[in-house]
Subunit: 431 residues, 2 copies
């Protein structure tokens, strides 16, 4: 009924090899149900000499243009990763009128608007469902379903590696380095885990999620981030006593600016305390979840595997079938982005805070410390104090306060003779 659709791939690492096998195994049912005959034609790689699964060997080439420009390639699947040369190749394919399906979240988070414009200029699709919460088609929902909805908040756990580590630290009392070693043993963390633990990976995903949710261009560099590297084991215990778990949270909100009525966006990634009864508190191990708040639709949550070869392969294939279907209908989907986002400085973002101090154990110290917080407009919701020989550890849970005020208060606290150290300051997520 329809001609076959020739698929060219850029890259053939772990995700690529799994994807190509998955494509071959699912192709007959896709043809039966959707009437689309997908054929893997060519795979461009850097080193054609490397060993590959036997059935892929005849497709391998080092000639990138044989994928991005060739007449016998209809759709391009990019699974190389990294910014360059992936950006150049993807742009070449889009400009040659070939729809592109990519698993490359760094590329989309950094160069999204440039690529969206290139795709729209030649009227082809650019899909990247795998880029955030791989197994859950949340990007399509944001791009296509919530067109009539005003989404005001995005709150998520979007990095499986760090969530696995925090789950182990919380449930088994592991230290950060023990949890990291375990994650590496289990294959959840790479030998260099930096991007997973420092929040960079979550920031890329959040930039993509928030730009689609709020329909404004937001780049990864707009996202302020803090990693989980400095979390201490005892913070998990103390948080639990207050009824919280600690999670690495990706959070973006729309605010109406007072006076102008203009909208500002606050966007951050940070480790935070989450109420143990909140649905996100129960997102454990390598699972991911995204909470959305819409003006009309209310609260929603989407939950699933954040990564993994098979979930990624499945998401890539879903995108590929859609791109192939659009091709035969001579249509495509644009990414709807309005005017550029206006960001709200993180100094002005408000949260309750968890603040842990070591102080000398002497009369009047608590009053001095509370006085500093009060002068910066930070009011206290609860306090616990524990004495250890000549010093004491004080933990405050504050009411909502601006981050700028908190930072100034902490700076002043550090200057007090009675304060030996401010060992933790964590935000508390309320939503």
């Amino acid at each position: 009924m329809y001609r076959c659709v020739n698929v060219g791939m850029l890259g053939c690492g772990n995700v690529g090899a799994t994807f190509s096998e998955f494509l071959l195994s699912r192709a007959p049912e896709i043809q039966e149900i959707n009437g689309i005959d997908l054929r893997l034609t060519r795979i461009a790689v850097r080193d054609a000499g490397k060993k590959r699964p036997g059935m892929l060997a005849p497709l391998i080439t080092e000639d990138v243009q044989a994928v991005t420009q060739a007449d016998d390639v209809d759709v391009v699947v990019e699974v190389m990763g990294g910014i360059e040369p992936a950006r150049t190749y993807v742009l070449a394919a889009l400009r040659a009128g070939k729809p592109v399906v990519t698993a490359n979240k760094e590329l989309i988070a950094k160069c999204g608007p440039e690529l969206y414009a290139a795709a729209d200029a030649t009227g082809v699709d650019l899909f990247f469902e795998t880029a955030a919460v791989a197994s859950v088609p949340i990007l399509r929902i944001l791009r296509e379903s919530f067109l009539g909805e005003d989404i005001t908040s995005v709150l998520g756990i979007v990095n499986g590696t760090s969530n696995y580590m925090l789950t182990r630290m919380s449930e088994e009392g592991l230290s950060y380095s023990e949890a990291l070693s375990l994650a590496q043993e289990e294959g959840y963390a790479e030998p260099d885990p930096s991007n997973d633990v420092n929040g960079a990976d979550s920031a890329s995903k959040l930039a993509i999620l928030a730009s689609l949710a709020f329909k404004r261009a937001i780049a990864v560099d707009d996202v302020e981030r803090e990693g989980i590297e400095t979390l201490e084991r005892e913070d998990f215990d103390i948080a639990a006593r207050f009824g919280y778990v600690i999670k690495s949270i990706a959070k973006a909100d729309v605010f109406e600016a007072v006076g102008s009525g203009k909208r500002e966006i606050g966007i951050q990634v940070f480790p935070a305390l989450v109420d143990k009864n909140h649905a996100l508190a129960n997102v454990r191990n390598t699972y991911n979840a995204v909470f959305l708040r819409g003006s009309a639709a209310g609260d929603q949550m989407f939950y699933g595997h954040g990564a993994g070869r098979l979930p990624s392969a499945s998401a890539l294939l879903g995108d590929l079938v859609t791109a192939a279907d659009h091709l035969r209908r001579a249509t495509h989907r644009v990414v709807p982005l309005g005017s550029a986002a206006v960001l709200r400085s993180t100094e002005r973002l408000v949260h309750p805070h968890y603040l842990k101090l070591e102080v000398i154990d002497a009369p009047g110290v608590l009053s001095e410390v509370s006085g500093v917080l009060g002068r910066h407009g930070v009011s206290i919701r609860s306090i616990t104090q524990e004495d250890h020989a000549s010093k004491a550890r004080v933990v405050f849970i504050t009411h909502r306060a601006e981050e700028g005020a908190m930072k100034k208060a902490v700076e002043e606290l550090r200057g007090l003779e009675s304060v030996l150290g401010v060992s933790s300051m964590l935000r508390i997520v309320e939503m």
Copy 2:
């Protein structure tokens, strides 16, 4: 840039009135971001004399053809409800080449394949996102994102009214009739609550969800259902002691038939015990959630408001914007359904069961009862017995057993002189 898109409505009840106001309020931003100028042109109603909001009054007509056939209507939104005359009108609109967006789950659950075929014949869209878990765009996900995925199970809480009642019965110890009165006071249950409490509403939604998930035509009459009307307050307490909550569950699974390798579908709605640590156990009040299990994507959950005027209006508008966008691109989306579903008889579906009996308090009774279960191949996971004067109440939690075997065992138990009654038999959901 693009011409305006004229929208005609069929019906103007609660959902319709809210939708039309929502459309008018969101239209400017939709034009800015998506470049689509939506204009509400005409609303066909049965009784034009009825009072309506002032701004809608000039649009009202009793002439249905002025919506379904008129040249100045581009897209039709059907919010009448019921099978006829909605079916006739929707078919007329589709045959006249007009895309249709409908909120009518009964119509889709009963006449889906007929309507899908009519839409495809003239190459127009038929969207019905509001029909299951209104606020969560799960139908689009199933229709469009999981094209490469093999979904094997759907498990959901898809009726807000019954879930609200069960939450009150579970958390506040209300009886069924107290919970129903409360739900009616709060406006969550209609004066005639039959379809919400007897499982009919859930069955419609499950038929739609499962047919899109499994890509097979499944009609609402294929869904065997049990309501929540006969649940007893004490079952909630007993279930809690075993670590379960009671929920109204919509469940559909794909099985490989032994020998033939052909696939069969089991599909049911029933009140069931759910492990209190399962994510569905924490779906409270009027919220809905759907769990999916995919061969590659793994487990996923989608959570949000199941009904309500604003969530429904938002979902209708999302569909409408997509339909309008497809119209200007001269494309449409089909519902991909393969060959007809082969159903597995519920007699052959297996679950653990919760079984509550009243027996005479005499030696040997427990052994007699267990013997009957054993003869039907039902093995016991745990038992509790409580004595009340001359009789005793025995609760069994069984291992997985076929429903047919359970029914035969219960029939035989009812015939025993020592068994005064079998007061509850509930399935336990494991997934």
